[in-house]
């Protein structure tokens, strides 16, 4: 009898707790899978927010086109979302939002302010993928590629390395971008998704920091940067000399860099790249015995390219590789002093690139 009393007491207690209405049914929710932020034309301050909302449904057929695009304008992102809420009958759920597309124009000047909404909200994944949309975010979200299983799935697959692994694609998560924006000594960078008819292509990227116009990289520079930063080893390098031309398929790649300081207070950035691979394609006949020569050739070409890229960063005072952070990590003193010193040292720093190439063969033919 006593047990029964206790049990019923527990029962009543649990029932009291269940009166909340915090949880809404799945069919009363609208799952946002992607968000796009664009700048409005007329208003300087405002944003145009586009949400890609997927409809939950049973069955496993292709659902790539089962989505709705909702967009609204507002002076802040939160305000625009409020207005979008007025357009849908379901509760917007941001918990599954895996991709954030920023319009090209949003990127200029105050990117930190734009990202604030994303990092402050608790329901937005810190592992959401971020990319720049060209010509604008809305166009990217509205594309319906063929054979998509879920809305926006193709876009996720590009970035999260579960699908394709391309040397042009740079993966950037939300927390990662926020870190780069806050950190003194490294600048942010994002891949650019170009809209094509029924598809995307990702071949370039953009480097940016607070208060400065972004720096767009070319295809070749993007590839080189990914190689340096990510140690991306599934790529081919074009080696082009007077009478030799071949493509080097990279097997392994390792990049190291050091910041050295000489007596005269000037610093030099030493970059060492170890690369090994086989020759993938050639327009002239290659000799197995001449591998040493090919090594030299590859080293020369790569050294030149990397030097050029780093000089470009230095010229524009951008530092996406994180040399400044490395400088801070290897010096003592207060952080403000280090940062001040670095800012005056970086534009005059010497850059030494050393590439050690090791071509292991000419493929299965000579």
């Amino acid at each position: 009898m006593k047990n029964l009393c206790r049990l019923s007491g527990l029962f009543v207690f649990v029932m009291v707790l269940l009166t909340g209405c915090g949880f809404k049914d799945i069919d009363k929710r609208a799952f946002v899978v992607g968000i796009g932020i664009d700048k409005t034309e007329q208003n300087q301050e405002g944003y145009e927010v586009t949400l890609k909302v997927a409809f939950p449904s049973s069955g496993s057929e292709e659902l790539g086109d089962q989505f709705e695009l909702l967009s609204s304008k507002g002076s802040t992102i939160a305000e625009a979302i409020q207005l979008i809420k007025a357009k849908v009958s379901n509760e917007l759920d941001f918990g599954h939002m895996k991709v954030i597309v920023l319009g090209e124009k949003v990127l200029s000047k105050d990117i930190g302010k734009t990202m604030d909404w994303f990092t402050r909200r608790r329901d937005i994944q810190q592992i959401a993928l971020i990319t720049i949309g060209k010509p604008d975010a809305k166009t990217i979200l509205s594309i319906e590629p063929k054979g998509e299983r879920l809305p926006s799935n193709k876009l996720f697959m590009f970035f999260d390395e579960a699908g394709t692994e391309s040397p042009y694609v740079t993966t950037k998560f939300l927390y990662n971008l926020r870190r780069d924006l806050e950190e003194r000594g490294i600048d942010g960078y994002l891949p650019i998704v170009q809209a094509e008819k029924d598809n995307f292509s990702i071949t370039t990227m953009s480097v940016f920091k607070q208060g400065v116009d972004p720096l767009h990289l070319t295809k070749k520079e993007t590839k080189l940067f990914n190689m340096l930063k990510k140690g991306y080893d599934k790529e081919s390098i074009k080696v082009n000399a007077k009478d030799e031309f071949f493509m080097l398929a990279v097997d392994s790649l390792n990049t190291e860099y050091q910041i050295k300081q000489k007596q005269n207070q000037k610093i030099s950035i030493e970059v060492i790249v170890d690369i090994s691979g086989v020759i993938e394609e050639s327009k002239v006949e290659l000799k197995e015995g001449k591998l040493d020569k090919y090594n030299k050739l590859a080293e020369k070409v790569l050294t030149k390219d990397i030097n050029k890229l780093l000089a470009k960063f230095q010229e524009t005072k951008m530092d996406p590789v994180g040399f400044g952070l490395r400088y801070r990590a290897t010096r003592s003193g207060t952080e403000n002093e280090k940062w001040k010193a670095w800012k005056s040292l970086y534009p005059e720093a010497g850059i030494n690139v050393r590439v050690n190439a090791d071509i292991t063969g000419t493929g299965i033919i000579e």
Binding site: F13, L17, G20, C21, G22, F23, R122, Q125, Q126, I127, D160, A162, F173, Y175, N176, R178, R179, D180, L181, E182, E183, R184, G185, G322, L325, R326, R328, A329, T330, R331, S332, T334, E335
Partner: protein, 364 residues
């Protein structure tokens, strides 16, 4: 040494993530935090050696019995009451943070009062159980959570996006004067051995002495744990970006990704594990607090039921709910800093008192 003793020590190491310790350490990250942590670990290990060995001289007895037997009555009541209040405060901080975490990360629409009542009812009922039974609950939770939490820690360190340069910056500030708050916060993660003050009653005949090797083992585990809880949030969120997070570890868990795990967002797994850890941690500290305080209060019975512990549970629940509604997060954070520094001195005092009791017992 009985495995239960290790559970108690490890429990507090894990629970520090909820108890605002990482945030305090991160705030001090460029002010000689490495030195502070080293000092904290050494001090606590000395306390651990003295305290545990002294407790083990009295097999089957808890701190209240020992203190009452060998010290004057006025001192014993004051001291035990004070220690009880300290344990209550420890529970209070864990609970306040976890109620806030639940509200922020799990369900912002649920009223804070419901969350508090839900947690408090579990903790108070748990704390009113027999000492031995709380240990069994602890074992179950540890067996489930420990491997998964270790996995998450490892996953964080092996993440390719972690910024090792940011972590290296912390070490460039090693040779700088340590601060009192970071020593206190660092020491808090290792204070699990104090729980033996009550659990000594049930660890009878299962426990031998506390040798040097065991201390070294606990020291290594503690060092790894406290540096993990400081460095991983810095590596994931950056040396300059880490300071803005209110619950650094929960934001860090959200930045981790298990592509082929059950759930891609590690945050939810982490939250689930930490509900368990913080509930059992609060239950155990609350139980110890009650045992201390009731030992100095007269036993009152009402219809065959001892009502003093129940009254304490109700009072504590009220204090928690009032604390949540009347104190801002900033105030709780400042109080926690003071509390951790206070614990350092209280630890020294406790060790001294117990040492005195051991000497008295030998004289008799």
């Amino acid at each position: 040494m009985s495995r239960y003793f290790y559970y108690l020590v490890i429990l507090n190491m894990l629970a520090n993530v909820v108890a605002l310790v990482p945030r305090i350490l991160i705030e001090e990250r460029v002010n000689g935090v490495v030195t502070s942590l080293m000092i904290a670990i050494i001090i606590t290990l000395i306390y651990c050696l003295v305290y545990t060995n002294s407790m083990l001289k009295f097999p089957g007895q808890g701190q209240p019995e020992i203190i009452k037997k060998y010290t004057p009555k006025w001192f014993a009541s004051g001291y035990l009451f004070f220690i009880g209040i300290l344990y209550f405060l420890g529970t209070w901080f864990v609970l306040l943070s976890f109620i806030d975490i639940t509200k922020r990360f799990i369900n912002p629409e649920m009223p804070a009062l419901y969350i508090s009542v839900l947690f408090l009812s579990i903790i108070c009922l748990g704390a009113l159980m027999k000492t031995e039974k709380t240990l069994y609950a602890l074992e179950i939770i540890m067996i489930i959570s420990l491997p998964l939490i270790t996995g998450i820690f490892l996953k964080a360190f092996l993440n390719e996006h972690i910024s090792w340069d940011a972590i290296r910056i912390v070490f460039t500030h090693t040779i700088e004067p340590p601060s009192n708050t970071s020593i206190g916060a660092g020491a808090y993660s290792l204070v699990g051995f104090y729980f033996i003050s009550i659990y000594n009653r049930v660890l009878k005949n299962r426990v031998e002495g506390m040798g040097v090797w065991r201390i070294v083992l606990i020291g290594i585990a503690g060092t790894i744990n406290i540096f993990t809880s400081l460095l991983v949030p810095i590596g994931m969120n950056g040396i300059d970006g880490a300071e803005n997070y209110i619950y650094p570890w929960f934001s860090t868990a959200d930045a981790l990704r298990m592509e082929f795990g059950f759930i891609e967002r590690v945050l939810y797994i982490f939250l689930l594990l930490y509900i368990g850890i913080s509930m059992i941690s609060a239950t155990i500290t609350c139980h110890i607090a009650m045992e201390h305080v009731r030992s100095v209060l007269p036993e009152i019975k009402w219809k065959e039921v001892k009502i003093v512990p129940v009254m304490m549970a109700i009072l504590f629940s009220l204090a928690t709910i009032l604390g949540y509604f009347f104190l801002s997060q900033v105030q709780v954070y400042e109080l926690a800093k003071m509390f951790f520094s206070l614990l350092l001195f209280a630890g020294a005092f406790s060790c001294a008192v117990l040492f005195y009791a051991v000497r008295r017992s030998k004289q008799k």
